[in-house]
C-alpha cells in the first residue's frame, strides 16, 4: 500500500505551504493553488508529505491510500481507495 497526496479544493485557500515544503510533488498554478500529479509519494518523501498535511492552515491537504500496482502474475482485485483526512493525521499522531 502506498499513498498519494490529494487536496480538497473547497477547503484550499492557496496558502502555498505544501509547495514550499514539497516542491518535488506540489507545484502551484498561476493563482497559487496546488497542482498534484496523483502519483504515489516516493518512500523518501512520505515524512515530508505528512508534515505538509499537518502544516496546511486550511487542512485541505490529505494523504490517500492507494493499492500498489499489481505485480504481473497477481490476480488480486484492486481495492477502493481509502481516505485519510487531515484531521485523522493530526499533529498528535506521528
Amino acid at each position: 500500500m502506498s499513498e498519494r497526496l490529494r487536496v480538497d479544493p473547497v477547503r484550499c485557500d492557496a496558502f502555498g505551504y505544501c509547495a514550499e515544503l514539497l516542491p518535488e510533488l506540489v507545484t502551484l498554478d498561476e493563482w497559487g493553488y496546488p497542482i498534484l500529479d496523483g502519483a504515489p509519494v516516493p518512500a523518501g518523501l512520505v515524512e515530508l508529505a505528512r508534515l505538509a498535511v499537518r502544516q496546511c492552515p486550511r487542512r485541505a491537504l490529505f494523504l490517500e491510500q492507494v493499492p500498489d500496482p499489481a505485480p504481473p502474475r497477481a490476480m488480486r482485485r484492486p481495492r477502493a481507495p481509502r481516505v485519510t483526512t487531515a484531521r485523522h493525521a493530526g499533529p498528535t499522531r506521528r
Binding site: 480538497d8 479544493p9 473547497v10 484550499c12 498554478d29 493563482w31 493553488y33 497542482i35
Partner: protein, 440 residues
C-alpha cells in the same frame, strides 16, 4: 381527436405495445396538452407496482433496466441499473428526482414534466419501491413555478385515485447552473446551500443527514416507468444495440423551429438538426454549455454516445445547439465561457480564478486584440482548470472551450492575425438565462 375518453385498459396486450420513436411524448402528440391521470392511463394503462418497498421487485426492476440498457439522461450517461443495484443495499434511502435543468439551453425535463408528469412519477415510484425508499422528492428549479404547480396537480390526481404508494413531495431549490449537480442538490435537500460537495471517494453515497440519497434525472425516471410496463425488449426495439431506446433532445440556437423532440438514439445528427429547420449550419454544440462543439462536416454522425465518442463529443443533457455558418464561433464561445465563469459556485480556487481568466482570454481573441501569447496562455489555463474542482463545472467549461479552439480553427486564425472573421457583428445565438447576458 382526443383519446381521453377511451376506456381504461389493463395491461396492454402484446400486439398493442406503443411502436415508433415517440414514447415519452406519445400523450402530447395525441392530445396536444398535459396528460392528466385519465389520459395517461388511457395511453399507457395502469402500472403494476408492489404496495410497499419490495426487494424482489427491486431485483426484477434492476434486471429489467439492465437488460434494457438504459443510461441516465441527466448528462453523465451512467448505466441506471448500476445505480439501482448499488442503492439496493442502502438503509432508509431517499430518492431525489432531478428536474433542475440548470443548463440554460435545455428544456426537455420541464417539457416532459409539463406534458407527461405521470410518466415521470410512475418511474420515480417504481424506483423508490425498488430501492426500499418510502419517500421521494422531485426537485424543480425555483423559477419554474408553473412546472412545480402542474406536478402538484398531478400528485393530487394520484392521491384522489388512491394510486400513491410512496410519500412524494415537490421541492424548489434555487435555479443556478450548479444547483442541479447531484452533490449540490442533495446538500440543499439536507438543509444546506445548493453548492457542490467535495467527495474524496467517488463511490460513496450522497447523504441527507444519515440517509443515503439516490439522485435520478426526471427523463430517466420516465423511461423506467415505461420499461416497468412494457419490458426491456420493447425498450430496445428503438435505438441501436449499443445505445438502445429513445431520448429527449432540446433543439436550440439559430433555428426556425426550436423545441424539444423525442428521437431514437442513433438518428443521424443531420436529421435531428433538420427538425429545427436551420439556415446554413456552421457548427453544433452538443450536450450543453459544458459540452462539445462539432463542425458541420460531422453532421452525418449517428446521435449516440458511442458514435459521438469517436469525435470526442457526448450526448450530455441532450442539448443540440445550432450555430449558423454566418456567426463567429469564437465570439459565441467567449460569451458562453463568461456565463459559465459567472455561474461558478465560488468554492474552488481553480474554478473561481480560472474560468474568468479563460473567458477573458477568449474575449480578447474574439475581439481581435489577442495574439499568439494569449492563445498559448489560454491553452495552459484550460489545462490548469481541468479536474481541479469539487464538481465537474470547470471540466465542462474547459471541454467546451477546447472543442471550440479546434472546431473554429479558421475563425481563430483570422482573429490571431487581428483580422475580423466572417462572423463579425453577428448577434448572439445561444440562449442565456438573464437579459444582461445577451452580449459579452
Amino acid at each position: 381527436m382526443k383519446t381521453a375518453d377511451a376506456p381504461l385498459r389493463s395491461r396492454p396486450p402484446v400486439t398493442d405495445l406503443p411502436a415508433g420513436p415517440t414514447r415519452l411524448l406519445a400523450g402530447w402528440y395525441r392530445s396536444g396538452g398535459r396528460a392528466d391521470l385519465h389520459a395517461h392511463l388511457a395511453v399507457h394503462g395502469p402500472l403494476d407496482l408492489p404496495p410497499r418497498p419490495d426487494p424482489r421487485f427491486g431485483q426484477w426492476l434492476a434486471d429489467a433496466v439492465h437488460r434494457a440498457g438504459l443510461t441516465g439522461r441527466g448528462g453523465a450517461g451512467f448505466p441506471t441499473a448500476r445505480k439501482l443495484a448499488a442503492a439496493a443495499g442502502w438503509r432508509r434511502p431517499l430518492l431525489v428526482v432531478n428536474a433542475m435543468e440548470g443548463e440554460p439551453a435545455s428544456a426537455k425535463d420541464r417539457a416532459l414534466l409539463s406534458c407527461a408528469p405521470h410518466l415521470v412519477l410512475d418511474g420515480a415510484e417504481a424506483t423508490a419501491l425498488a430501492i426500499g425508499a418510502t419517500e421521494l422528492l422531485v426537485c424543480v428549479a425555483a423559477e419554474h413555478r408553473d412546472v412545480a404547480a402542474r406536478l402538484r396537480t398531478a400528485l393530487a390526481e394520484r392521491v384522489g385515485r388512491g394510486l400513491v404508494r410512496v410519500a412524494i413531495d415537490v421541492a424548489q431549490p434555487p435555479g443556478t447552473f450548479v444547483a442541479g449537480e447531484e452533490s449540490a442538490l442533495v446538500r440543499w435537500v439536507g438543509g444546506g446551500p445548493a453548492l457542490p460537495t467535495f467527495r474524496p471517494a467517488k463511490g460513496a453515497p450522497l447523504r441527507v443527514g444519515r440517509r443515503p440519497a439516490l439522485v435520478q434525472n426526471a427523463e430517466t425516471m420516465a423511461h423506467v416507468g415505461l420499461i416497468a410496463r412494457y419490458g426491456p425488449e420493447w425498450f430496445r426495439a428503438e435505438g441501436l444495440p449499443e445505445a438502445p431506446g429513445t431520448t429527449l433532445i432540446t433543439l436550440t440556437g439559430a433555428l426556425t423551429r426550436p423545441g424539444v423532440h423525442e428521437i431514437a438514439l442513433g438518428t443521424p445528427l443531420r436529421a435531428i438538426v433538420a427538425l429545427g429547420a436551420p439556415a446554413e449550419v456552421g457548427a453544433v454544440l452538443l450536450g450543453g454549455y459544458g459540452g462539445t462543439w462539432l463542425a458541420a462536416e460531422h453532421l452525418d454522425v449517428a446521435y449516440s454516445p458511442p458514435s459521438l465518442g469517436t469525435l470526442g463529443a457526448t450526448v450530455g443533457a441532450g442539448v443540440v445547439g445550432v450555430l449558423p455558418a454566418a456567426a463567429c464561433g469564437i465570439a459565441e464561445t467567449a460569451r458562453l465561457a463568461t456565463f459559465l465563469a459567472e455561474e461558478s459556485a465560488g468554492q474552488c480556487g481553480p474554478c473561481v480564478h480560472g474560468l474568468p481568466a479563460v473567458a477573458e482570454d477568449l474575449d480578447r481573441l474574439a475581439r481581435g486584440v489577442g495574439d499568439r501569447a494569449t492563445f498559448d496562455r489560454l491553452r495552459r489555463r484550460l489545462q490548469a482548470v481541468t479536474g481541479r474542482g469539487a464538481c465537474g463545472h470547470p471540466d465542462g467549461a474547459a471541454r467546451m472551450v477546447k472543442s471550440a479552439l479546434s472546431t473554429f480553427a479558421t475563425d481563430l486564425a483570422a482573429h490571431l492575425q487581428q483580422r475580423p472573421c466572417a462572423g463579425r457583428g453577428h448577434p448572439p445565438v445561444m440562449p442565456l438565462p438573464r437579459p444582461g447576458w445577451s452580449r459579452p
